[in-house]
């Protein structure tokens, strides 16, 4: 165990590449493989990949965005060749109507459409400094989720309880009512007609390079880089009927 501790101290530092020399021979991580051309494109990160340090390390952000999210975009573009209807309306509507789509494309919508929606939301609600929301959203958290401290505790516990890959979400309805929920893999609450206010990715790829098996520590640290202003904007949009993915 002493050996683990010693090496763990190296994680998150500039020495990572020397621990895993294979990383040096990889193409630039931020770019990823070019996704198949088509109607879908990878939304750029709204901040530098190191902006969420130390809660989320730069390399994790680069791989997560440039490789994992980009793979969903590639899958969607490939599927859109045979099923153009998945690009004919906004993605939140595609997810909501997954049951009406041809059976052959439902798997791609569920996994890659859900993956695209989840990650597009995820990037925009980070890059902040944590703290607390204000106004309507703060009041709704107190009213529906028992206040900030209880919400964080319950959210973290729900994140730890997801067995295997998945997400923990706070959903919001058109009246502004909040609820805590989780989903397996890349399932998105829009598939059940619910809107996502915010969510955290608990797939191991979201935290393994920095936190390894310690998902609980990742969940705790994540609150320090949450962008509450962006979440307040989503809350207002949900009530106004203009919230997308």
């Amino acid at each position: 165990m002493i050996a683990i501790t010693r090496r763990r101290a190296l994680f998150g530092a500039a020495t990572l590449a020397s621990v895993y020399p294979i990383l040096r021979s990889s193409p630039a991580l931020g770019q990823g493989a070019p996704a198949a051309a088509g109607p879908f494109s990878l939304p750029p990160l709204p901040y530098a990949p190191e902006a969420n340090e130390p809660s989320i390390d730069k390399m994790t952000m680069e791989i997560h965005h440039g490789r994992h999210h980009n793979a969903f975009i590639g899958n969607l573009n490939a599927a859109a060749k045979d099923f153009p209807q998945i690009a004919a309306m906004p993605m939140h509507q595609v997810l909501q109507k997954i049951g009406e789509m041809p059976e052959a494309v439902r798997g791609v919508i569920r996994n890659s459409g859900g993956g695209h929606a989840n990650h597009a939301m995820f990037w925009t609600i980070m890059g902040g400094k944590g703290g607390e929301p204000s106004g309507d959203l703060a009041a709704a958290i107190t009213r529906d989720l028992g206040g900030m401290e209880k919400m964080k505790t319950d959210f973290n516990a729900a994140g730890v309880r997801v067995f295997g890959s998945g997400w923990v979400f706070v959903t919001v309805d058109a009246a502004g009512k909040l609820a805590l929920t989780s989903r397996p893999n890349q399932d998105n609450p829009r598939m059940d007609g619910q809107m996502v206010l915010m969510g955290n990715d608990v797939w191991e790829h979201a935290y393994y390079l920095k936190y390894q098996n310690r998902r609980a520590d990742y969940l705790t640290g994540w609150w320090n880089i949450v962008n509450w202003q962006a979440i307040e904007t989503r809350y207002a949009a949900a009530k106004a009927g203009t919230l997308g993915i």
């Binding site: 683990i4 090496r7 791989i63 295997g164 890959s165 890349q186 393994y208 390079l209 098996n213």
Partner: protein
């Protein structure tokens, strides 16, 4: 009697030259597998219906029971990892003659077997496992299961090889590149010598 973490059949540095580094093995065995064993023992301690049952019995009695999902998850993962450690070797990758003959019979070629296994492993969306099983019809097959499930739970046959495709199995060594991890696992790590048909 409480379930225990089995010792690795090799040192934690033994597979590093084959694409599975010391840190991956230390975490995977000492942290992830240990956590499943600890959680399983906690459930058994609190539930008289589980006490005195074998691991196979607990996997089977909790399978498909939503109220027992946490028991199934942890019992399944204990079962899966016991096999996984035995399924790797520092001298892995070589396929003995009798197994090769059976693979060619049932898949057409060794390459076709590896392709089928790799397809199962890479199409398992999210965490789970890929398997080589001996079906109840006597034929070899490649299958996949999500999260902690396994061929004992699905009843598809006897598990001969199980490859863990949870990201914790390969993220330090291969990051997002699961296909490369699985290819390397089949070519260099899989302990085909240990398979009893």
């Amino acid at each position: 009697m409480a379930f225990t973490l089995p010792a690795l059949p090799y040192t934690t540095t033994a597979l590093a030259a084959k694409g599975m580094c010391q840190e991956t093995l230390e975490l995977h065995h000492g942290k992830h597998h240990q956590a499943y064993v600890t959680a399983l023992n906690g459930f058994v301690e609190k539930d008289a219906a589980l006490q005195g049952k074998s691991l196979d019995e607990i996997v089977q009695l909790s399978n498909g029971n939503a109220a027992m999902a946490p028991v199934f998850n942890n019992a399944g993962q204990h079962w899966n990892h016991i096999l996984f450690w035995e399924n790797m070797s520092a001298t892995g990758g070589g396929i003995p003659g009798a197994l090769e003959k059976k693979l060619v019979e049932d898949f057409g070629s060794v390459q076709a077997f590896k392709d089928a296994f790799k397809t199962a492993a890479t199409t398992q969306f999210g965490s789970g496992w890929a398997w080589l099983i001996l079906g109840t019809d006597g034929k070899l097959k490649c299958t996949k299961t999500p999260n902690g499930s396994n061929p004992l739970a699905t009843g598809e046959g006897k598990a001969l090889l199980g490859c863990d495709v949870w990201e914790h199995s390969y993220y330090l060594d291969f990051r997002n590149r699961r296909p490369d991890y699985v290819q390397n696992w089949l070519d260099n790590l899989a302990n085909y010598e240990g398979i009893t048909l």
